[in-house]
Amino acid sequence: MTDVPSIVDHLFRRSAGRMTATLARVLGADHLDLAEDVVQEALAAALTQWPYNGVPDNPEGWLYRVARNRAIDVIRKKTREISDAFAAREEATPRFAHELEDDDLQMMLMCCDGRLAPETRLALTLKIVCGFGVDEIARALLAKPEAIAQRIVRAKRFIRDNEIELTLPSRDELPKRLDSLLDVVYLMFNEGYAASAGDDLVRRDLVDEAIRLCEELCSLRVPKIHALAALMHLQRARLAARVDAAGEMLLLDEQDRSLWDRDAIACGLRHLEASAAGDELTRFHVEAEIAAQHLCEETNWPRIVELYDDLMAIAPSAVVALNRAIAVAMVDGPSVGLEAAAALEPELRDYVHFHAAIGELSRRAGDRVSAEEHFKRASELSSTLPLKRWFEKRARYGA
């Protein structure tokens, strides 16, 4: 199908999020459902008009006006003030697109309230800020639609019951409030990134959405946001090179470097530079530099070990320790790495990449039995088909 230039890609999904944010800002967080309903009605109205009469000159403005009018109709009986509030807002800021930034941020902060579980924050953000449908969220997060719908209903009830307000934190308070929001953005990115190519397009959309949100947040000029942007761009740069023509996974040193996305690398490095502005060193800073190190012609493994030491100091976890063990193996040899990795077994027993790492390090150390055993276990634990196939192949030939 040829492209119709009058509607930009993902306009509906994105304006759904923006409009919900704008409307909820005026209507109040307790009217979140109403905001969502009228936005959905506006989109449905477009579906009855535009196929027959064509797309209006300003599609987003049309949608917004229809949604806004509908909202006013619904609550006119109850209150006169709300329509006045709309009028006041619109007088103050005539351009629709520009008034959204603060509203968007407030909505994101509300969806990412620290009292909600991380996966709930992610589902709610995708639904309300990014305009994903419940089925799309379910596909993207490998969950059942009913489970996602439930999670969202409960989260909204929590917001209503706890009277969580849509407010903008003060300049001093903002960086702290951002942490839970940035975690969600990174979780969104990882959910999309972890899927293999061609698995489902919606999952690739998660990567794009996470980067788009982060780019928008960069206007807040908080260095750690740039660090996260750098990290995601640098990882995204290698996305196309991660699988071969047959859809099989490739290791870093097997990847065709000409497939790396030069623009994404340049963008990532620019953000990495901007991230150095403050005095706060976050896990995103360190992880971004690790990603940058992996893009160098010759990998500087001793430097990577140092970076993992830094990361262990900031955000210690068994997964970070495992990555450190792999880097150590590159510097001091596979048996030293194996020893460090094996110590993590109690915590990582059911983690795919733990067994993958032990398998690979065993192979390099010449222990074929252990290699085969751990690659098999990794294959059993894999949730996507390409990953499963890859580990099976390793178990057969690699060991």
Binding site: D3, A44, P51, G133
Partner: protein, 115 residues
């Protein structure tokens, strides 16, 4: 040039459709409309709710609710287009995205005889 009425029949199943999917449908109609260009004389969606069916019973007019969308395909919208012939009208309708949702009935408008 002859005028043809395209009657779009469907069962009104758009419930629960996501914003992204709505946009995709609209874009496909846009591409199709572009192919037709000026040949579209007029077009409109018909409301999926309500509707009345009238008939005469003896001397009085009986009004009934319907037709109901749940039961079978009903006319959900129309396009009035200009075409050279039925074959041409069929050709123009071939790419219409509506086939994903229902069927299309094509009827030529009765031409006015030259008096």
């Amino acid at each position: 040039m002859a005028k043809y009425m395209l009657l779009l029949r469907d069962n009104g199943t758009f419930a629960g459709i996501s914003p992204e999917e709505i946009q995709r449908v609209i874009q496909r109609y846009g591409a199709w409309r572009k192919q037709l260009g000026d040949r579209i004389v007029s077009a409109s969606k018909l409301r999926d709710t309500d509707g009345r069916v009238l008939h005469r019973d003896g001397s009085k007019t009986v009004v009934m609710d319907g037709p109901y969308t749940e039961t079978k395909e009903i006319v959900g919208g129309y396009f009035l287009i200009e075409a050279d012939s039925y074959d041409h009208a069929i050709e123009l309708s071939r790419d219409c995205p509506h086939f994903d949702f229902g069927s299309i009935e094509i009827r030529e408008l009765q031409p006015t005889p030259t008096a």
